[in-house]
């Protein structure tokens, strides 16, 4: 019985499915889902409306910004969400960027940039996937990769990028692939 429980226990890298959690805990115990919920809560950090940050923002967890940030934001392997109240005047580097507020600056994502309804981006986007909702504002350029190409492959193959920024996603995607 003990050995069987050990076998279905989730590893730290893979979140437990509800079925797996149920098999290791009594059916009515909330303890089965609490650690996971706590972990998610802990891994999403929120910068509130009244917070103003000037400078460089680095992190290794998902981040939601509702305040003002000026400078540079780098969350290479994580998701950055600019909330509806968020105002960013910065160069942004992340795995995925979701924009519901305002961004003034270039955005580089190794996976996806998603500008939602009401979101606004003034700047250049470099990302293999870009979604721009109907009510979103966007002014700038979008640099994507061809369908079927390996992430980072095309950029790395390009010996003469148009401008220095173009070299950035190649580096970040190569690092992401290495993890």
């Amino acid at each position: 019985m003990w050995k069987r429980d050990e076998a279905v226990k989730p590893t730290s890298g893979q979140p437990a499915t509800p079925a797996a959690a149920a098999s290791t805990q009594p059916a009515n115990s909330p303890a089965a889902v609490q650690p996971e919920a706590r972990r998610i809560e802990r891994d999403i950090v929120n910068i509130g409306k009244s917070v103003v940050i000037k400078g460089e923002l680095n992190g290794s967890e998902d981040l939601t910004i509702e305040g003002h940030v000026e400078g540079r934001i780098e969350l290479k392997d994580h998701v950055l969400t600019i909330g509806p109240n968020g105002k960013i005047k910065a160069q942004v580097f992340a795995k995925a960027v979701i924009v519901l507020g305002e961004v003034n600056g270039n955005v580089t994502a190794s996976e996806k940039v998603d500008i939602r309804d009401g979101g606004s981006v003034d700047g250049d986007i470099i990302s293999p996937r870009v979604a721009i909702a109907e009510g979103a504002h966007f002014r700038g350029s979008v640099d994507m990769q061809r369908k079927g190409a390996q992430p980072g492959q095309q950029k790395a193959a390009s010996s003469q990028p148009e401008k220095p920024q173009a070299a950035t996603p190649a580096t970040s995607t190569a690092q992401a692939a290495a993890h």
Partner: protein, 202 residues
């Protein structure tokens, strides 16, 4: 759903290039950005000229629009592989069309392609002015979504004027569709063999 004949040829004209640069003169359409990005692996620059037209009309300075266009584009000459004009030329007068044509011709790289739609019907008086947002469904079909405009469509440009507006570009494909629309694909002549390309800023 509206069929298009020229879009597939526009894409074909760019597909051999590595990371082409596309200039879209229409409003931002997310699905279009995804479509062209995935099809061509390109860089897309969105310069929504309808907003500029509206601003000039609202401020009562549309006569200054040709002069404005001559300074509108910050891109280097010969830096763009493909230009999507959609039906923008239906909304401008001849001097503006000429000024815009000159700028786009300057921006287009040798062997680059330009797509434009022209109405063949006279504008209907009394209609509320509307732009058309062209949403790419696939290579052969577009969806039209109307949105408010400050200026209505103008008298259609005859074929001769279209050629003059874009000189020295060459019309390589032209289709007259049943919906009173002329679809045109223009191309800039390739560089002569042995001619070295010179970086504009060098």
């Amino acid at each position: 759903m509206h069929p298009t004949k020229v879009l597939a040829r526009f894409i074909a004209g760019l597909s051999a290039r590595s990371q082409p640069v596309l200039l879209d003169l229409g409003p931002v359409v997310g699905t279009n950005v995804s479509f062209f990005g995935e099809e061509l692996g390109c860089k897309i620059i969105v310069e929504d000229l309808s907003k500029d037209i509206d601003r000039h009309v609202r401020d009562g300075i549309f006569d200054q629009f040709p002069a404005f266009l001559s300074k509108r584009f910050a891109q280097e000459p010969g830096s763009i592989d493909g230009i999507l004009c959609w039906d923008l030329f239906d909304y401008v007068d001849k001097p503006s069309a000429k000024a815009l044509g000159e700028q786009l011709t300057r921006l287009l790289r040798a062997d680059g392609v330009l797509l434009a739609f022209f109405s063949t019907a006279e504008p209907t008086p009394g209609l509320k002015p509307e732009y058309t947002r062209h949403v790419v469904v696939d290579k052969n079909n577009l969806q039209h979504r109307a949105y408010a405009a400050a200026r209505g469509t103008q008298r259609p440009l005859p074929n001769r004027d279209i050629q003059r507006v874009f000189e020295p570009l060459r019309i390589v494909e032209q289709f007259l569709l049943k919906n009173n629309r002329r679809e045109v694909l223009l191309k800039k002549a390739p560089e002569a063999a042995g001619t070295a390309s010179v970086a504009p800023s060098a």
